[in-house]
Amino acid sequence: MISVARDSAVGEVEAVYRQEGDRMWRALYAYTGDEEVAADAVADAFAQALRRGPAIRDVRSWVWRAAFRIAAGELKRRSTVVLGAMPEGVAYDAHPDTQLLDALQRLTAQQRAVVVLHYYLDCPVRDIARRTGLNPARGARPPQPRPTAPACLAG
């Protein structure tokens, strides 16, 4: 019985990854400015979801929240070098809009998270805190969100 539930949970996690993984990586890339940090956060969040199995009720929301927290933790660890900004020497060769990423770099980590979630993933501001554990009130507050909830953080 437990094995069946676990297999089902694994299938659900993989389904969420196939559906959300790419967007999650891109959002985290915009948030961190680092491909490796983004990939590491995504992989770690989904791996933790796999380990927890049926204990997670809403896999989609859980992995989004976990991934951003993992990435935030990594940025915080790196912030011993540059506080509140992305690490120096980050290359944006992967993304052509260097102007946009440069502008993001001038924001704090929390502001970047809010901007990325809102403008890239269309997340309402009120959902950003609930879904990611970040507090938009302490960061940049973008214009009021669209009334419809985005799929990225629905759950």
Binding site: Y17, G21, L50, A94, H95, Y119, Y120
Partner: protein, 177 residues
């Protein structure tokens, strides 16, 4: 703002890595404790609990008792003399050989601890003197213990063979140096 959203949409042009194999590898690297193993852990914990309860029940019923440990008195007094009383020496003299030959003495001294603490008996601080106060060569002082408890009596004894002081052999007191 719509322009900003459009610019963020350009992120969708980025190629993304397929991380699923990495995810599975990380997940399997730290699997939680299996149900079978957890079961044995619980059984072990239950057995330990039963043993502890049984031990407590036996001790409580008095069937099994803890080893009695005597409460030690304060550490032995640093001084030999503290609370120590010396009785009159008992000297036993005999002449194993012909008259005029060497005389053997056996000197026994009782040491009674009249104090409340333990006292250490340092035999090196004792020697036997003759009436003139000269030390008599002995064979050492012997006693059954190095320390004497409160209210207890210990005995020092020594054997002496004296070829020249036969008349002084009897009744010689033992004196402290």
């Amino acid at each position: 703002m719509s322009d900003l959203r459009t610019r963020f949409r350009s992120l969708d042009d980025l190629r993304t890595p397929d991380l699923w194999s990495e995810i599975e590898a990380r997940a399997s690297a730290a699997q939680p404790v299996g149900v079978g193993r957890l079961r044995w852990v619980l059984i072990g914990a239950l057995l330990l609990l039963i043993v502890a309860l049984a031990g407590a029940a036996l001790l409580g019923s008095g069937i099994v008792k803890w080893p009695v440990s005597l409460e030690a008195s304060p550490r032995p007094s640093a001084s030999l003399q503290a609370g120590l009383e010396k009785d009159q020496a008992v000297v036993i003299a005999w002449q194993p050989g012909p008259p005029g030959g060497p005389v053997s003495f056996e000197v026994i001294v009782a040491l009674r601890n009249s104090g409340h603490g333990w006292v250490r008996v340092d035999r090196a601080t004792y020697e036997i003197l003759n009436r003139a106060g000269a030390p008599i060569t002995g064979q050492g002082l012997f006693g059954p213990a190095d320390t004497i408890g409160p209210g207890q009596t210990d005995y020092l004894n020594t054997g002496v063979v004296d070829a020249y002081q036969t008349k002084e052999g009897s009744g010689q007191p033992i004196s402290r140096r």
